[in-house]
Structures are given as structure tokens and as C-alpha cells.
């Protein structure tokens, strides 16, 4: 059921070393790409139907083609390795276990778009992943895959790794760009989009680690081979990070379109202790929650999840079991967004704070009957009204939790304490 295109090397000894990578065919796709016309490389990626794996799902080839061919200022690639969406840990696996696939993907991407400097923006908390990607970049320089005149062609590329310092908002592409420029990671108003005005004023491609890691496979095997997996509209594979009380939490690479129940029940071994699933957050904590019933009926591709009223997001699936209080779970989620709002936009800055306080008061048994309507009304004012979508990301879980698990919220009003869960976390 798993289809291992990007994760094929995960089990091999020293999979992160260049020797091991080359032995399994590494850097062959780069050799092939460098003999092609750069536009043909972009075309191949377009044809593959690859979509951004960072959360927004934007078609990757199309994003590359928005970058102007001629530019007075240098063009840049920013690889988004900030991985901070709660429930998501697949980029960490790629960085730790197959860093050369990322490096190879970077060179191919930069060749296609005409970029000569790439930055890898990696979250500051990553220790081992940082050391692995760092040594992969060094090895690639020493073998002539990076630097001047790569593999004897006229193509030059520098790669610099840039460490973040703890801020979820730096995963948002323009927050990342501000942070890379040495400032607070406060997102910029779009347009202009990064493809036109990005880091240091130059046209900039921002792509997620997993997106970049898929590029060598696609170039190496061809777009048609990639499209053999997945569905017509959501081709290829996707890495899902599954966490929560399942028997085997972890990273699973599945063809898009796999039923959610296969991932949870078969690959992850179901819920621990034979318990039942109560809810499922399929794409990272920002996406609307599914009830168990909805979850067990849905397939994991962009279109099916959208039809079910949620999103594929980053593929960070959080499984919630029958013993969990949904008010308590939402309280933890909203505490996170209130902490991470960068504070520029009133609906987000105030809205995240209000949601956190309202839900915490409910969870601690002190809410009032009007609170649920208040939460829903706040979320309506937070969606589509701000510079970036962190505000929407805080509002969507709140609206879906309250709507789908209304009776649990109602049961907290006037209860004096959480009626479902005895202890409460301090907020």
C-alpha cells in the first residue's frame, strides 16, 4: 500500500552519505536535466502534476514559470525547511535520511528557473537534520554538484543553509523571506508575490522540502511514471506524518487517493488498546477536523479532502481517540495560534487571543451558553481578513470543532470543570 518513491532509501545504511546516494542512482537525474533545455525541465515538472507539499498545494511547475526570465536583480530559491505545522514531521525525515535528494532537487530547480543562489531555511530546533543537510551540502560541493561550472557545464550554484530561531510564522513564505533578510518574521502583503519580488528584492521561488525532494525522481523517471501513482487530479505520492494514539505512528509515503482508513487502520495498526477513533485532523492542526465517520469514508487526495470540507495541508495527520475531550484538544490548538500570531493584523492578533481564552474558560468549566456563538462569530471575522492565512488557520479548527462536536462544548457550560477529562492543562 505504501509506494516508496521519495522514501525508498530510508532503510539503507548511511542513506544520508553521498556514497550511498550515488550507489542507488543519485545525481543521475541531475546529469540528465543538465543536458535538457531549462524550460523543458519546468515542462516535465508541470506535466507530472506535482503540487506544493508545504500546505497550500500550488502546482510547482506553474510557480516556477511565474518567475520572470530576465531580471535585473538576482533570482533566488528558498527551500522551506521550517516544518512547524503541528503534527507534521516528514521534512525532518527527508533531511535526516535523504538529504542528497534535497540537494539534487535544489540544483535541478535552480537550473530550470535560472537561479544561482539557493537558501535552505531550516527551523532552529533541528539539530541532527541540520547536521545531515549541512554535510550533504559540503559533500556536494566537494564532488562538483554545487559551486562553479557544475559537472563541467556552464551552470553555477551556491547553496547557503540558514537557521531559523523559533517562530512558526517563519514557515509562511513571506515571513520566511523577512526572516532570511535578518528581520522579524512578519509576513508581507501580497501581491507582489515572491515570484516577482521576493528575498533581497529579487524574484524568488519558495518550495517545501518534500516538493524539492520529488523533483529528482520526476526528472529521473519521467512525468508519466510519476502520474502512474495517485489519482488523475492528484498525481504522485505524498508523505503523511501520522501521530496521536495509533499503534505505529510515523511517516508513510502513500499514493494520493488512498482511503484514510487504510492509512490509519492498516499501515498505522489502528488505535492503541483497541479504542475507537473519535476525530481526525488530516493535514496539520490548521485544517478543519473530521469526525470519525467522515474520516473513515474519505480518500487522501486534494479533491476528496476538499469535498469533505477539509484540506490535505501538510499531510500531518493527528488521530484523536474516543477518550479525548474535544474542547481540551481545541484549547491546545488555540493556545498555539495565539502564541504564534505575529501581531500585525487586528483580526488575527485579537481573534487568536479571544479564541484561546474562550475555549480555555469553557474547558475549565466556566463558560456561558453564548460562548459557542461567540466563537463562531469571531472565526467569521478572522477568515480572509488578514495579511497571511495564520488567522484562517486558527479560525478553521475552532469553527469545525464547535460545529461538529457541539454537544461536547455544550456539556462544559456550567459544569464547573471539564466533564470529560479530569485534569486540565494550564494555559
Amino acid at each position: 500500500m505504501e509506494v516508496k518513491l521519495l522514501t525508498a532509501r530510508f532503510g539503507t545504511p548511511e542513506s544520508w552519505s553521498i556514497a550511498s546516494y550515488e550507489k542507488s542512482g543519485g545525481y543521475q537525474a541531475l546529469r540528465k536535466a543538465l543536458r535538457m533545455d531549462p524550460d523543458a525541465v519546468t515542462e516535465e515538472v508541470k506535466k507530472s502534476g506535482l503540487r506544493g507539499r508545504g500546505g497550500a498545494g500550488f502546482p510547482t511547475g506553474m510557480k516556477w514559470s511565474f518567475v520572470p526570465k530576465e531580471s535585473k536583480l538576482p533570482k533566488y530559491l528558498c527551500v522551506n525547511a521550517d516544518e512547524s505545522e503541528p503534527g507534521t514531521f516528514k521534512d525532518r525525515y527527508l533531511l535526516e535520511l535523504d538529504p542528497h535528494a534535497i540537494v539534487e532537487g535544489i540544483v535541478i530547480t535552480c537550473f530550470a528557473v535560472g537561479i544561482h543562489h539557493a537558501y535552505i531555511y531550516i527551523r532552529g530546533e533541528f539539530g541532527l537534520p541540520y547536521r545531515r543537510i549541512q554535510s550533504a551540502v559540503e559533500e556536494a560541493y566537494s564532488k562538483g554538484y554545487l559551486g562553479k561550472a557544475i559537472l563541467g557545464t556552464g551552470f553555477d550554484l551556491e547553496v547557503t543553509i540558514h537557521r531559523g530561531a523559533g517562530a512558526y510564522i517563519c514557515g509562511e513564505e513571506t515571513g520566511l523571506i523577512e526572516s532570511l533578510e535578518g528581520k522579524k518574521g512578519q509576513p508581507r502583503i501580497k501581491p507582489p508575490f515572491p515570484a516577482v519580488v521576493g528575498v533581497f528584492g529579487g524574484p524568488t521561488v519558495v518550495n517545501n522540502v518534500e516538493t524539492i525532494a520529488a523533483v529528482p525522481w520526476i526528472l529521473g523517471h519521467g512525468a508519466d511514471a510519476y502520474r502512474k501513482h495517485g489519482t488523475e487530479k492528484s498525481p504522485g505520492t505524498k508523505l503523511f506524518s501520522v501521530s496521536g494514539p495509533v499503534v505505529r505512528p510515523g511517516v508513510y509515503e502513500i499514493p494520493l487517493g488512498l482511503p484514510l482508513r487504510s492509512l490509519v487502520n492498516d499501515l498505522c495498526g489502528g488505535i492503541r488498546g483497541g479504542k475507537r477513533m473519535k476525530a481526525n485532523i488530516p493535514g496539520g492542526s490548521s485544517v478543519p477536523v473530521l469526525t470519525a465517520e467522515e474520516a473513515l469514508a474519505v480518500n487522501l487526495d486534494y479533491e476528496s479532502l476538499a469535498a469533505a470540507g477539509t484540506m490535505l495541508g501538510s499531510g500531518g495527520m493527528i488521530v484523536i481517540d474516543e477518550d479525548t475531550c474535544m474542547v481540551w484538544a481545541l484549547m491546545i490548538i488555540e493556545k498555539f495560534y495565539a502564541h504564534e500570531s505575529c501581531g500585525q493584523c487586528t483580526p488575527c492578533r485579537e481573534g487568536t487571543g479571544w479564541l484561546k481564552q474562550l475555549v480555555a474558560r469553557l474547558e475549565n468549566g466556566g463558560g456561558s451558553p453564548g460562548d459557542m456563538e461567540k466563537i463562531l462569530s469571531i472565526t467569521r471575522n478572522m477568515i480572509g481578513t488578514t495579511i497571511c492565512v495564520l488567522s484562517d488557520a486558527a479560525a478553521m479548527p475552532a469553527a469545525s470543532f464547535v460545529t461538529k462536536f457541539r454537544s461536547e462544548f455544550d456539556s462544559h457550560v456550567g459544569a464547573g470543570r471539564c466533564p470529560i477529562r479530569r485534569a486540565t492543562v494550564g494555559v
Binding site: G127, E158, Y168, E181, G182, G244, P249, S285, G316, K356
Partner: protein, 186 residues
């Protein structure tokens, strides 16, 4: 109906206290190796300002935190006003604005870890170390902090010990971890 708690500065960016940074108590200067590294950094970015985060990391690597005396030095290197450096140091949660213990224990309290018992682990840590969040043990060994999802949810409940991720934790594992750290301490 309970009243709302008082506005909590830690959770509302606009209410955060004016960035308080502890003092080192002696002048700050970059070491020759750091100077060399900074010159190299300037070759990697088209602006000096962009070297701000990496320079702050150099300081934190040597001292374990970023003292007030270092701010003017960083501002001068980056060619920006000191206020810009204060803004950055206070915006990012990883820059320590006061000394921390030899082991910085950062427990994740986001959803996946909570589903697997992070709250209980936090209680155990409080009890075993006899400190609360944000505090350092009297022997200077351990500082306890709470962090958001560290992208290691398959290890839930998990904790970051300086650079390393440790999990899944249970009470026995926690005891073993603490005694190992004590025995390895400088």
C-alpha cells in the same frame, strides 16, 4: 461565569514587555574565530543585515544566551540600528535573553504530545526537579521550558534536551534520562 484571566503578555505579542535582556556584567567582544566566521557570512548574503540571525547564533553558541552588551556589537556588524536587533532577539523564542542551565529541557505541549501524556510528563519534571516552567535548578544544571510542536510527534510525548530530541517518554525513561544527564554533567 468566570471572568477572563488577566491579559497574558506571554501569549499576546502586543502586550509583551519591552524586551528585557539580562546583562553579562562585562564588555562583550567577538573572538577572532567569530570575526572570521562573520566575514565569511557576509559573503553568503547580499546584505549585512541578513547575517543578523547567524551572528546571534554564534553568540548563543559560545555563551548559551544573548546578553544586552552584545546588541550594539551585532547592530554595528549588520549596519542597522540597535532597535532592529532588539526586535529580532525578542521575536524569536530560541534566543535566550538570560542564562540557562547546562541542560535546557524543553517539553513539547502541543496536541500530539498532549494526546500521549505530555501533561503528566511535565508534572513529573516539575516534581523531580523541584522547579516550575521558566526556572533553573539551584545547581545550575537544568532549565525547564515548554515548547510548541518540534516536528517529532511520532516520539510523543517528547522533550528536547539542548539539541537532541528524546522520546517517547514515560516516568521511568525520564528518571533514566535525568540520571544520565547528571552523571555526564561538567
Amino acid at each position: 461565569m468566570q471572568p477572563f484571566e488577566k491579559p497574558d503578555p506571554a501569549h499576546n505579542p502586543q502586550l509583551r514587555e519591552p524586551c528585557a535582556i539580562a546583562k553579562l556584567g562585562r564588555p562583550f567582544a567577538f573572538t577572532p574565530t567569530e570575526e572570521e566566521r562573520i566575514d565569511w557570512l557576509f559573503t553568503r548574503y547580499p546584505t549585512r543585515h541578513a547575517a543578523c540571525l547567524p551572528i546571534l547564533w554564534l553568540i548563543q553558541k559560545r555563551l548559551g544566551w544573548v546578553p544586552a552588551e552584545a546588541i550594539p556589537a551585532v547592530a554595528e556588524k549588520c549596519g542597522v540600528p540597535e532597535s532592529q536587533i532588539y526586535a529580532v532577539v525578542s521575536f524569536y523564542t530560541m534566543f535566550n535573553r538570560a542564562p540557562v542551565g547546562q541542560y535546557h529541557l524543553q517539553i513539547c505541549t502541543n496536541l500530539s504530545c498532549q494526546l500521549m501524556g505530555a501533561e503528566h510528563m511535565l508534572d513529573c519534571l516539575r516534581r523531580k526537579l523541584d522547579i516550575d516552567l521558566g526556572q533553573t535548578t539551584a545547581d545550575g544544571l537544568f532549565t525547564l521550558s515548554e515548547v510548541e510542536c518540534l516536528a517529532a510527534c511520532e516520539m510523543a510525548p517528547m522533550i528536547q534536551v539542548n539539541e537532541d530530541f528524546v522520546g517517547p517518554l514515560d516516568e521511568k525513561g525520564l528518571d533514566a534520562l535525568l540520571s544520565r544527564l547528571r552523571s555526564e554533567a561538567r
